[in-house]
Each structure stands twice: as structure tokens, then as C-alpha cells.
């Protein structure tokens, strides 16, 4: 078996559809400018459309056009808001495939780095079991919210972004950026579960969050260990994590802003070994993308143009 694989090589059964990672790449580079956001999304409209065909997202694309991805990401999931049910299913599906890729990333860390210290291998092996349980948990939670595996396309950009060839960068990407993002998303979902009195979701997600904090801590410790006495490697690992975090900000949907769709789970991250300095940096990074106001305006324009072009009555926007 070769060492190091590409994200295209992740094996899936026939339920899954793959999505090109271009939309995720695009979100990472969006400026805080309404016209630029509109122009970029109109340009990649066909790619976004292709990723919805044959999936449960197809009716959403047919109704709102390429802006539907921004609409689902940009707004917090709140009980009773329009489209909450669909957005919850999308989020659960996104977490499910994210856990699958985290499982695969941890497993590849065992195979790709045979010379790594034994304690590193123990941590990665433990993470394999944890992520495997998370996949099982989210398969059940997806069912719990009325969804099913394969109902949306899978973007493999998490694996693509996080799985570097240097173990120090790999743990910086997978354990600190990816698992850190998981902490943010799960904290947000736990709050949603509390608001909806969903004890099943609240408790299972809280267990998953506890595991993720452990994985972030693995990452914090191993970046330090791999990079001790090597400031150049440490700088590379830091830059790699920042770059990965930039992509995981989803154009500002995950940020420190009070009205962000997904808040940075500050306290959870501190518990897992992030320093205040790193968290300030993450907050600044996530603030570099478009503001929520910019996104809202861009969505309005994109949806209006799409609906006009396709003869869809504008009240469908609601």
C-alpha cells in the first residue's frame, strides 16, 4: 500500500455523490465586497449546480440558484426559522462526512508515518476508534433529523486541506484546524439541541465534543513535540494551520462575530490547548472574509437575478 493518497482516492459506497471542492476554495478567498461575491458565485454557478443534481439540494438550487450555499451557511440555525429543517439535515450530513474524513485522516496518519513516535501512534489509533464512533453517532443523528446518508453531495475539502505530508503539518491541519472547527460546530449544535429540548442530540453531541477536545489536545502536544528545536518547522505548521483555518471559516460563516452562523468555541478551544494569542489570530482571520451584511446583500442580488432569469416568482425567496 502506498503512502499518502489524494482526496479523490477516498473510497465510498454507491450512496455517496462527490462535489467539486471549488466552492469551498472560493469561500476562503471571498472579499468583503458585494459585487465581487456576486460575480464569483455567478461564475461558479454551474459547478455548484452540478453538485446538487440527484441530491436533496437540487430543489434548493432550482429555487434559489447558486446563492443557496451561502444562504445555508450564512445564517445561524435557529428553531422556527425558515428552512431550518433542511439546513439541519445539511449540517448533520456535512458533519457525518466530516467525521468520515477525520477517521480516514487519523488512519492515514498511522500508515503514512511509520517512523513516528509510539505515543503518536497510540493517540492516532485512539482517534480512529473515536472518529469511528462519531461516524456511527452522526449516521444515527442524521436519521434522527429525518435525513439519510448520501442525500447531499460530499465535499472532500476537509481531507484535502488537512492531510499534509509532514506529520507536524498533518496534526496541525487535522487535529487543530479540522477538530477545532468541529468544536465550534458541535458547541453551536448543542445550543440548538437545548433550545429544542432535544436531549438525545444534546447528550450525544456533548460526548463527541469531549472527544474532539482530546483530539485537539493531541494536536497541540504533537505540533510542539515534532517542532521542538525546529523553529522553521513550527512556523510552517502554524502557517499551515492558519491557511486551513482560513478555508474552514466558510467565508466568515464561522467567526468570532456575535451574529455569526457558527461562533468560535473560545472556552472549549482554550481547554484543548489553544492559546489566547492563537484564538485572537483565528478571530482576526475569520473576520477577514465578507461581513454578514455583505453576504446578505449578495444573496439578495444573486437570488433575484436567478429567479428573474428562470421566471420564478420572487416570493419564493421566503
Amino acid at each position: 500500500m502506498k503512502r499518502f493518497i489524494e482526496h479523490e482516492e477516498l473510497a465510498r459506497d454507491r450512496r455517496f455523490i462527490r462535489q467539486q471542492n471549488v466552492a469551498a476554495d472560493l469561500l476562503a478567498t471571498l472579499p468583503d465586497d458585494v459585487d465581487a461575491v456576486v460575480e464569483l458565485f455567478e461564475k461558479v454557478g454551474p459547478v455548484i449546480e452540478a453538485g446538487t443534481r440527484g441530491t436533496a439540494a437540487e430543489p434548493l438550487y432550482d429555487r434559489f440558484g447558486p446563492a443557496f450555499t451561502l444562504m445555508t451557511l450564512n445564517e445561524p440555525i435557529r428553531p422556527g426559522d425558515p428552512g431550518t429543517e433542511d439546513r439541519l439535515k445539511m449540517r448533520m450530513h456535512g458533519i457525518f462526512v466530516g467525521e468520515l474524513q477525520a477517521l480516514e485522516g487519523a488512519g492515514r496518519s498511522l500508515w503514512d508515518f511509520p517512523e513516528a513516535p509510539w505515543e503518536f501512534k497510540m493517540n492516532m489509533a485512539r482517534q480512529c476508534w473515536d472518529e469511528a464512533r462519531h461516524v456511527q453517532i452522526f449516521e444515527k443523528l442524521l436519521d434522527h433529523v429525518g435525513g439519510e446518508v448520501g442525500m447531499y453531495a460530499e465535499s472532500t475539502f476537509l481531507f484535502e486541506a488537512a492531510c499534509a505530508d509532514d506529520p507536524a503539518l498533518r496534526v496541525a491541519g487535522v487535529n487543530r484546524a479540522l477538530e477545532g472547527l468541529a468544536c465550534d460546530v458541535f458547541r453551536d449544535n448543542i445550543e440548538y439541541a437545548k433550545q429544542t429540548d432535544d436531549a438525545l442530540m444534546e447528550q450525544s453531541m456533548d460526548y463527541v465534543l469531549a472527544d474532539e477536545l482530546t483530539h485537539v489536545r493531541f494536536g497541540s502536544e504533537w505540533v510542539a513535540e515534532f517542532c521542538k528545536d525546529d523553529p522553521e518547522r513550527l512556523a510552517k505548521a502554524r502557517e499551515f494551520r492558519r491557511e486551513t483555518d482560513r478555508r474552514f471559516n466558510f467565508g466568515g460563516a464561522r467567526s468570532a462575530d456575535k451574529d455569526a452562523a457558527i461562533q468560535i468555541a473560545w472556552e472549549d478551544r482554550k481547554f484543548a490547548g489553544f492559546t489566547d494569542e492563537e484564538l485572537e489570530d483565528l478571530a482576526q482571520l475569520s473576520g477577514e472574509g465578507p461581513s454578514r451584511k455583505t453576504m446578505k446583500k449578495a444573496i439578495e442580488i444573486l437570488v433575484a437575478r436567478f429567479q428573474e432569469e428562470h421566471g420564478i416568482p420572487s416570493e419564493a425567496q421566503s
Binding site: 500500500m1 488512519g107 501512534k121 469511528a132 446518508v149
Partner: protein, 224 residues
Amino acid sequence: MSEGRMYPGTGKDERTTFAPYSAFDIPQDLRELHGRYDVETTARRVRNFRYAEEWMMMMLGGWLATVPEVPVKTGLGKIIWEGAKAADEFGKRLPELRCGKRAAESSEAGNPGFADLIQEIAAPETPDLTIEKMTGVFDVLKPHLVKVYERHMRETDQIADAPTIEILEEIVRKTERHVAWGHEILDRLCDTDAKRQRRHARQAELNELLEKCGGVTGDLALDH
């Protein structure tokens, strides 16, 4: 309460009054001293066992990304962790067997042939080869290890090497569960004659290599 001496004195008439009692008089303890393996041999074998467990969990980790069946991915997650714990337990035993404090992370293939066998078992790569991947581990390697571990437990010094026996007992219990799970998966995957033939062919090919190299310790004649 005894009125005799509680503690021996220095003179020959100053003995305590307690009746002598030997552990060997206990009728239930039928264990005998002396086994097939001396300390050095057991240390070498434990390093061999550790090598097999370590590489097995590493290859299973690599396959998580290349098997398409979700239940196989999730089932392997736990087996990887239990394999790592097995390797870790073997490693912790090594310093107790005079291998030095730093020996806890040392693995050693029984011989180059066994190292080649491990690489051959790990060779299947693409998503259409789950049968070949699972067969190598669950039809060949793990059943072989169970046999060797059980033989070691039976034939080593039952009292002096009891710590190794304790470790092996736990690993065998879990490995047997892994094998049962792997067989269930393989029986399910091999639902046509052609697929069953693939499984048998792979099993035969690897068993031949296993016999040729002498298995995990390089001494199959003594181990099976």
C-alpha cells in the same frame, strides 16, 4: 490468642509456634515450574508479537480511507485501537524481561520473510479489494496469532512468566472477537462463488507465505 513465641529469636529453641505451610501443598495449584521459553526467548517472542500487532494496526489505519463499506470502516476503528493497546502491552512487558527501559517501543520481525509477509498482506490498495484486505488480516494473520499466543500461554512457565500470560489472555479474547467480526463481514461480502473463490485464493496464497517464513516468530513448527 497464641501464647507461644510470635517472632523468632536467635537461639535454636527460640522458634515461633506457627505450623509450616508451603504454597506447593495447596492441592488446587497444579502449575509447575519451568516452561519451553527462557527469559531471552520470551523477550524475543514478545518483540515479534509486538511487531505483528503494530504493523497490523498501521495497515488497517491505511485501509480506512480505501475501503468503501462504511460498517467496515467503523468496525476497523475499534480494532485499530485494540491492536495499538495490544502492541503497547507487549512493549510494557519488554523492560520487565531485561530488555532495557527504552525497549518498550521496540518491535522486531521474526525474520525478513515475516516482514515481507506483512507487506504482502498490506499490499491491496484499491476500493474493489476489500475481500483481499480483510482476508489477509482476519483469515490469515489474526487466526495465526491466536494459535501462537495460545501455545505460548500453554507452554511458558506458568508461574514465572505469568505476566506474559495475563497480557496474552486479554489479547486473545479480543482477537477472537475481531476474527469473528471479520468472518461475518467476509461472509457477507463474498456472496457469489467468484467472490468466495477470491477469498480462498488469497487465503491460500498468504498461508503459503506464512508457512514458508515460519510465522510471527519464524518457528511455525513449534508454534502451531
